[in-house]
């Protein structure tokens, strides 16, 4: 209940309610873009500074390997369920599966904030795991689509650029490295921008996310009850697996929960752009509706508290 009443969640709910009520409330697109860049920059810097404080640990490498394995395997299971239970044809199933293997930066940021507020902050290196988990699922998704439709996989230069040099990946990793280099002392002069205003700006961004997610849901076509069910089952199953792996690897509550959040979240930034290039026949309205309009709100409101509770039971 404490999580549900945090300003971050309440602003998200406000945005969603406003969109459902067909209010004309909107955040200007350039501001929305700027807020997302700010959040990625701030979270990257904070992660880098924490790692520079604690040094490179074995846990960092274990979390990275766990993240990579999850990111490669989740799309395979998701693909099978989307084909059988979801009744999707191959290209759409592969495109949606890729989204679930990748991660949502904003779910991570919101989870990070809620866990920190609760006194169980995750380890700083999880930001590197987040960046590592952005892209492998894209390759797996394309492979699944091409293999099952008999097409050869010919990644163009644009797709490679979109996959490996996606703006969010570059900014997250870049800020993380800057944080590593500057450490706590170097961060002090810029902390008023990246620390003091962080929660307030996160609230504004989540207000926008609420608006976008609800509007996406209102206009979603081809979103069947079976697919909505999968968009809720995927995060529960993947989040449970991620949290369990985190607990088995001996991580603290915050870090194990965060591995669960990463496994449970679905991308709506890096993967949609790559899918528009690689699998243009896949229905963008469908994969964005599932990841952004169903899974994202589910994770923000129900998922994060659920994975936290699981971690508390297991750690």
């Amino acid at each position: 209940m404490e999580t549900l009443l945090s300003p971050v969640i309440l602003f998200f709910v406000l945005g969603a309610l406003a969109a459902f009520a067909k209010s004309d409330l909107s955040i200007p697109e350039p501001l929305s873009k700027a807020l997302s860049l700010y959040l990625m920059c701030a979270i990257g810097l904070k992660g880098g500074i924490l790692v520079s404080d604690n040094g490179m640990t074995v846990d960092l490498f274990l979390a990275a390997i766990a993240g990579l394995v999850l990111s490669c395997l989740i799309p395979i299971g998701a693909f099978a369920l989307l084909r059988s239970f979801g009744k999707l044809e191959t290209t759409n199933a592969a495109a949606v599966a890729a989204h679930y293997g990748s991660v949502s930066v904003v779910t991570f940021v919101a989870g990070n904030q809620l866990l920190t507020d609760a006194g169980t902050p995750p380890a700083g290196y999880m930001i590197a795991v987040l960046a590592l988990m952005e892209t492998p699922a894209i390759i797996v998704g394309i492979f699944l689509a091409r293999r099952n439709t008999g097409q050869a996989f010919q990644p163009g230069q644009d797709l490679l650029r979109e996959t490996l040099l996606n703006g969010s990946v570059v900014l997250l990793l870049g800020s993380f490295i800057i944080g590593l280099i500057i450490g706590k002392d170097g961060f002090a002069p810029v902390s008023p921008v990246f620390e003091t205003g962080f929660t307030g700006l996160l609230c504004l961004f989540l207000l926008d996310m609420g608006l976008v997610a609800a509007r996406r849901l209102r206009h979603a076509r081809n979103l069947t009850l079976r697919l909505v069910t999968l968009a809720i089952v995927f995060p529960i199953v993947n989040g449970t697996i991620g949290t369990t792996i985190g607990a088995m690897l001996g991580f603290d509550i915050g870090t194990a929960t965060t591995l669960g959040i990463l496994a449970a979240s679905a991308s709506y930034i890096a993967v949609p752009a790559a899918m528009r290039l690689a699998l243009p026949k896949a229905d963008a309205g469908l994969y964005l509706a599932m990841s952004l309009a169903v899974t994202f709100p589910f994770n923000i409101i129900v998922g994060i508290p659920f994975y936290t509770m699981l971690a508390k039971l297991m750690v």
Binding site: S32, S168, I269, L277, P280
Partner: protein, 104 residues
């Protein structure tokens, strides 16, 4: 009366992620100048869309516009043909009168 020349204006509505490839294809086929225009929102057979930066522009669209000689237009459109269905491009071609025709 100012002298005008007849040229072809090609406008293509496309997904933002495709812009770079299409621009390269245009230049490879003789297009010397172009303009990219932003769009706000729209709808069609594939549902509604709007420019939303939350999804990194994946759901956004732009209009690529160029004015060229007729033979360049033919060459560019022939090269574009295989992509039309695959990427659901909307292409319009208009005959226009331009001033300083040598520039196009």
């Amino acid at each position: 009366m100012i002298k005008t020349t007849t040229r072809k204006k090609i406008e293509i509505l496309m997904d933002v992620p495709l812009l770079r490839s299409l621009r390269d294809l245009a230049i490879k086929n003789g297009v010397r100048g172009y303009t990219v225009l932003p769009t706000l929102a729209g709808g069609g057979d594939q549902g509604r869309w709007r420019d939303d930066q939350v999804t990194g522009g994946a759901g956004s669209k732009v209009v690529f516009a160029t004015i060229v000689k007729e033979d360049t237009a033919d060459r560019f459109l022939t090269a574009l043909e295989p992509l039309l269905d695959e990427y659901s491009l909307i292409v319009t071609i208009t005959t226009v009168e331009v001033i300083r025709g040598d520039n196009f």
